[in-house]
Symmetry: C2
Subunit: 141 residues, 2 copies
């Protein structure tokens, strides 16, 4: 790993999130690979065009200044492959203030780090994933 | 990347999933790092002890033979860092048959690949993440 790979990878993820905060659609895509695979909240998204479209939905729901800030960012960086995990605090849309979990996968191509994978999720609250004893308690609440 | 790193990484993820199918608790943990960070369905889990406990919950909900099979597995493998994405078909618990998205991050330590990160999620169906026009339609359905 080159001395500055960790910094480059961290910067790319932070600049991507900052571009969302600023509503800078071009910069959101600045380091994303054409063949990106994204596990988005509602579904799986393949390729940069469909990925870009998901931001139409996001910005359609904007109701004020956007917050899109990483917390607990952890970068694992090799010579050619890296992954980053963090919690993202999002605010400023119809969804209100909430936190989601983000994992980003990156590959170094021709000396440049590119995002090839994103996994976004909110904790599942469906009854399906509640402990059986808690489900029992919930059914009586 | 050594010639067989891709195969080793793929095998570790497939053997982990197969260990879940077989209910082999020891093998589930065979290639997990002590400091694992897991974005689990309901919450964030840190460390191997708490990770192991999540499988108590899983197997408590068992109602028949477990299916835990990867589909569309994609491995991105470098010299020392790798990540894998796949869809997992799960069946045999109180949750019934469903598919979830899995991202696994791995690091090579002393010649051995270890899982240091997992991100599990089901697509979010909350009203929050439904397109505004679809939300309108749903409210009238």
């Amino acid at each position: 790993m080159a001395a500055d790979d960790r910094q480059q990878v961290t910067n790319i993820v932070c600049e991507f999130l900052d571009a969302v905060s600023r509503g800078d659609r071009k910069s959101i895509l600045a380091h994303h690979d054409d063949k990106l695979l994204m596990f988005d909240f509602p579904d799986t998204v393949r390729g940069l065009k469909d990925y870009d479209d998901t931001w139409d939905f996001f910005f359609d729901s904007q109701r004020g200044p956007i917050t899109f800030e990483p917390e607990e960012l952890l970068a694992t960086v090799g010579d050619r492959v890296a992954f980053v995990s963090c919690i993202v605090h999002c605010d400023g849309t119809t969804a209100g203030s909430f936190r989601f979990r983000l994992t980003v996968g990156l590959v170094k191509c021709d000396g440049e780090w590119l995002i090839t994978h994103e996994h976004h999720s909110v904790p599942a609250k469906e009854d399906t994933f509640v402990m059986p004893d808690k489900r029992e308690a919930l059914s009586h609440s």
